[in-house]
Amino acid sequence: MVAVADPGPVAAAPRRRLPFAGTLRFLGRLFREKPLGAFGFVVCMVFLFCGVFADVLAPYGFNQISPVNRLKPPSAKFWLGTDNLGRDMLSRCLYGAQLSVIIGLSAAALATVVSVFIGVVSGYLGGKFDLVMQRFVDAWMSFPDLIILIVVVSVVGPGMGPVIVLLGLLYGIGGSRIVRGAVLSVRENAYVHAAQSTGATLPRILWRHVLPNVMAPVIVLFTTRVGAVILAESGLAFLGLGVPPPAPTWGGMLSGSGRSFMYLAPWLALAPGLCITVVVYAINVFGDALRDLLDPRMRGSR
């Protein structure tokens, strides 16, 4: 284990003036101290690149049906083979990355905002509000994520919007515990008391004094949430309750009508699952490294 003293707010000050230099310095540290995390970072960047430029990179359209080429094994023309409708698997995987990037980033961003809002307010205010809020979070967390998702989608109907909002709320409420924990310790610092005694308003204290000092766990939370969201979305799509076909979601590609063709064309079963695994693995190891570097207090926690 690398014992690094937490520079905390001291390091945060110059970073604000030169954001780019700070980021570069941080990446340097990542590559030196956490090779596995750096590997994860590189894979995440490749994934992001594939997602953003899927339209350019994909040799065919994601729903370009060509009956002549159905169930073709991987070849020079179709690198990952074709499915039962003759659609190119590589193109579908690339467009799948695009969907995962969109859903992963937006749902994780929403989740983080919800977590920060509940966590900061509940942790800072404390008292009865906190008590009631925490009982609610307790009750919420006794429901399995996937079952909440299935039930809500059964009511609202599947689609990209509902899936993003749902995953955001779902992981937002659960993650508020971590933010609240961090706020509880920040709340007792002298600078917060100083702000209170000078008569700073509640929003100002929360925004200027509490929030910047819980940013480290919040960044880590966001990163790990992207992975969790992608995994959950693929599970939902696998059950046929995610973004409806013909959208090429990785989870959806492993389910539905394609399943019976996997016995004839096993490559159909490999590529989408491998995409999910590699991306989630990369996000997890990057998140772990980020946690060790940014927030030594959270080391070892999940």
Binding site: M141, I148, V151
Partner: protein, 318 residues
């Protein structure tokens, strides 16, 4: 102990009230009219019932607050979760019939997770920073990233292609043929327990590393106690307490994961019941499964809390 138990049970009430509210609000208040969905889609039997009949069947003709108290009242006083919309069977009976199957799957996954996770975690901690430690840790991070439904799919597809073998999909109940049933559940339980065992392994390792640095371990080793005995009797017992907490935290994850395993391996548990109900838009069943799973998780966590005393004599039930 008795006073503690009573207090602990009383503390369950607010959690259960919130849980029932979450279930109620989720199913009834979300934008999108359930009735419209039921009437618009060409569901089996939907055309046989008129809008008024459906509203009355779901109790939607009453004000929201009345609906909630009626629903809760029926559960508390009559033990009734209503009737299935299409089959006219009692939801409670249906759910109680399926619950043991999901429970068995979850329990087997738990056993897999603990049997694999704890020994590997101890090994990894004792051999800290050796190749063995790195390999097991990398494997654990990988296990957390692999989606269970993918492994399930691979298990269905590849053995069938290579050896013509595929998992049995005709379900045998435990009461009929215990061994056949356990054999059938083994593969889904292994897959379901995989991620859980990785988490267990990581936590056991972290806790072992922390405990091994304690003075009493040094004392035990210094007085000449065998390393093996020290690790098993002194260190592991103390390291395991957070692992017990983990069981409670993972209970909802197991319930969620079992939905997917039940779907892939056609196991008629709660998860399959839920998916069938979703495809038929049978809201009383959806609501019933949702609530029962939530309550089950709350009760499992109560058991976990109570079990601390068995492991840790320091815990007093005050």
């Amino acid at each position: 102990m008795q006073a503690y138990l009573v207090r602990r049970l009383l503390a369950l009430i607010p959690t259960l009230v919130f849980a029932s509210l979450i279930v109620f609000v989720t199913v009834r208040l979300i934008p999108g009219d359930i009735i419209d969905l039921m009437l618009s889609s060409n569901d089996i039997g939907a055309d046989k019932k008129s809008r008024e009949q459906l509203e009355a069947a779901l109790g939607l003709d009453q004000p929201m607050v009345t609906q909630y108290f009626r629903w809760v009242g029926a559960i508390v006083f009559e033990g009734s979760l209503g009737k299935s919309l299409w089959q006219n069977t009692s939801v409670m009976q249906e759910v109680l019939h399926r619950l043991p199957i999901t429970f068995e799957l979850g329990l087997m996954a738990l056993v897999v997770a603990l049997l694999a996770g704890i020994p590997i975690g101890v090994y990894s901690a004792v051999r800290q920073d050796t190749p063995g430690d790195y390999i097991t840790r990398s494997f654990a991070i990988l296990a957390l990233a692999v989606p269970g439904f993918w492994i399930g799919t691979l298990v269905m597809v590849f053995p069938s292609i290579w050896w013509g073998w595929s998992p049995e999909v005709k379900f045998t109940p435990f009461s009929q043929a215990p061994l056949a049933n356990l054999g059938q559940m083994a593969i889904p339980a292994l897959i379901l327990g995989l991620a859980f065992s990785a988490i267990t392994m990581r936590l056991t390792r972290t806790m072992m590393l922390e405990v091994m640095r304690q003075d009493y371990i040094r004392t035990a080793l210094a007085k000449g106690l065998a390393t093996r005995t020290t690790i098993l009797r002194h260190a592991l017992r103390n390291a395991l307490i957070p692992v017990v907490t983990l069981v409670g935290l993972q209970a909802p994850v197991l319930f969620g994961g079992s939905v997917i395993m039940e779907q892939i391996f056609v196991i008629p548990g709660m998860g399959l019941l839920l998916l069938e109900a979703v495809s038929q838009r049978d809201y009383p069943i959806i609501t019933g499964v949702f609530l029962v799973v939530g309550v089950a998780v709350v009760l499992i966590n109560l058991l976990v809390d109570l079990s601390y005393g068995l492991l840790d004599p320091k815990v007093r039930y005050r």
